[in-house]
Symmetry: C2
Subunit: 416 residues, 2 copies
């Protein structure tokens, strides 16, 4: 048995205990984790500082250094986040659709934990705590495989969570960190079918592709977002400009940011300069079709076919002038990743057709794609945003970390 298999087995045993742990016991453990994070502030920051030193020496980019960094405020924020998860309603144990069948069997569907969830993520220590407590609250054991640059921070955080679990009377193996930070450990995790019920990769397109190509365990794909805003010809153009500006520039690195602007040709000449005036505030680079260039001039770079497939994650926006709703819908369904798509329109039928015909996790009329988020959608907290159709689609909250089982009360019934 490899170290990873041993870890998987320990997680599976812990999951069996968590499966029947009550809400009070789980919440008490979460509150203990929150307290322990605050009480062990110095140890967490010391471990993080070592990660930061090594990362600086290796020349990590500033944006990534910022994601790696912990300070007192961020750790307190993590602890507050844990208390918020403790305050959420527990999805486990609810029985739906319970009914008596003609033969007298009483059958219902009971919401139960998934079991063991594995999460692969980048060098972001906040995910270590966020993901672990969401899994715990839904009664699951979690195996964490964080980016190697955050290994010391993650080890400190996981040690604290394990100790708090133990002291709360729950199995410490409900949370564990993969100790091997080599690329091979990711691949090994993907094959651990005896122990892992669901694996959630959180990261860039490269990680997701590696996971899809190599996983034998069930996977929920997350996070790749090539999102569009389509300005239909009846749109309130000032509203449309505010929406594309927000969708592109409020936080361009995240998956619900817009990457392509589609504009109806009937309003392109009036709308594009309006939009550009706002996008210029962040020096957003525009890459446009010929018609866009004809309207906005040479400041617009030419868009290649490849641009329409690209999630820039930056202050870059592809622009295309389209002939109308049909072309817009066809474009979105061809180039999009099924994440978040918006139309701006005052036309009733255009709005309804866009909602019906766009194949994506979240479809908007007259609002920014940036709202696709567990908190904004009222799910309380999220473990990620699924871009697949199986099991979960869009922001995943506690309920998406559960499954059901049929429970059947009989009085001796046999079949036929």
């Amino acid at each position: 048995m490899t170290d990873l298999e041993r870890q998987g087995l320990a997680a599976k045993k812990a999951a069996a205990v968590l499966m029947t742990a009550g809400t009070s016991a789980k919440n008490a453990a979460l509150m203990a984790i929150a307290k322990a994070l605050e009480e062990n502030m110095a140890a967490i920051l010391a471990a993080n500082e070592k990660d930061m030193e090594a990362a600086r020496e290796s020349g990590m980019r500033p944006a990534l250094l910022d994601r790696l960094k912990l300070d007192e405020k961020r750790v307190r924020g993590m602890a507050d986040g844990v208390r918020e998860v403790a305050a959420l309603p527990d999805p486990i144990g609810r029985v739906d659709h319970m009914e008596t069948r003609p033969n007298g069997l009483v059958i219902g569907r009971k919401r139960v934990p998934l079991g063991v969830i594995a999460i692969i993520y980048e060098a972001r220590p906040n995910v270590t705590v966020d993901a672990a407590v969401l899994c715990l609250k839904a009664g699951n054991a979690v195996i964490l495989r964080g980016g190697k640059e955050a290994f010391r921070s993650n080890s400190a955080l996981v040690d604290i969570m394990r100790k708090a679990l133990r002291e709360s009377g729950l199995p410490e193996d409900a949370v564990s960190l993969v100790q091997d930070t080599s690329r091979e450990s990711v691949t090994a995790l993907l094959q651990l079918t005896d122990y892992i019920d669901v694996l959630i990769p959180r990261g860039g397109a490269g990680l997701i592709r590696h996971v899809v190509e190599n996983a034998r365990v069930p996977v929920i794909q997350t996070g790749v977002g090539n999102c569009h805003v389509y300005v239909e010809k009846t749109a309130d153009l000032d509203m449309a400009a505010r929406i594309i500006y927000n969708a592109k520039c409020s936080r361009p690195s995240v998956c619900n940011a817009a990457e392509t602007l589609l504009v109806d040709e009937a309003v392109a000449a009036e709308f594009l300069p309006k939009a550009k005036a706002l996008l210029d505030k962040h020096n957003t680079q525009l890459r446009g079709c010929e018609k866009t260039k004809a309207i906005l001039g040479d400041s617009v770079a030419p868009a290649a076919e490849e641009d329409y497939y690209t999630e820039y994650g930056d202050y870059i926006l592809a622009v295309k002038v389209v002939s109308g709703l049909d072309e817009a819908i066809a474009h979105v369904n061809k180039y999009g990743t099924g994440h978040s798509e918006a139309i701006v329109t005052e036309n009733y039928t255009a709005a309804q057709r866009f909602l019906d015909e766009i194949d994506a996790a979240a479809v908007y009329v007259n609002a920014s794609t940036r709202f696709t988020d567990g908190g904004e959608f009222g799910l309380g907290a999220e473990i990620g945003i699924s871009t697949q159709k199986m099991h979960a689609r869009g922001p995943m909250g506690l309920e998406q970390l559960t499954t059901t089982k049929f429970i059947v009360y009989g009085r001796g019934q046999v079949r036929e």
Copy 2:
């Protein structure tokens, strides 16, 4: 582009049309399919007779020949099945949890089709029609890959369904059959990530394993059932004997049949002869532990460790005497496949603990495991029985062939 990719692309285009097809249009197409099956009886039976001849010549086992065979009654049964699916409520279009968020966004979850579903199955022509119409009713396109021994029958059935779709004004590519019946076509199908949203393998453990090891498309595992009946010491022993007899012998080849009997040692001496008296009616071979053999004598073969992992699919039953509830639960969770598990007991706490602690798709008190079935559970019809926890667990009806999307009605909202 390979033939299979072309087929995938055609299915994806058909799925886009079906996505917005109304219930009336889908039902009209299903009724046309039912009628066409009956009207083309002679062609179907002629194609099937060729399959049967070839199968007989190749020495196919009688049980498999019976599954391959079509006759007038069976084809009429298929047509009636199609009409029953047409009569089921359409899950598509229902909007759940619609609410107005504090910022005025109105957000709901709308039930929508999965898109393109691929189904891999054995030489059972009835599955060709059953699976296709369930997928169609839920608004999906379906790519069928049936066992090669049924290729002529499947071709005839698919041609009839495609013609009926076309004449009903729906795209014929909503149903298609993989033309290449080599093993390689299965592997190629498993990699078709650009076109397939979900793949459902229906077949034996070997097929399921091949699929899990090679699939890059999302998969719903079905059908492997190593099911248990546990007779607790307070059980009504006559009821328990009827239940294990039904669970084992009413149809031993199916996945919800019992494979292992667990008996509390306090009642083993009284219960085992009762059970054996019934099981003997079908000359059921018993493979027991030492204690079982001590009670029932040398007619019982010794059970090896391997027996407790085995889905016999035959008149064979493993038997183990256990010390009580704890050992029974541990045994089921270790050796079971998470399909269907039953306890027979009059003790309230034992019943509730078994329901809570057994990790399976369906958990029963005082009833036969044989009831795990879409029809019996009130789902109307089923495409298979999922033994995984993601997306669907247990019998899968129309709703499990769908997903959701968030629809968001705004009035210009931007984030932050």
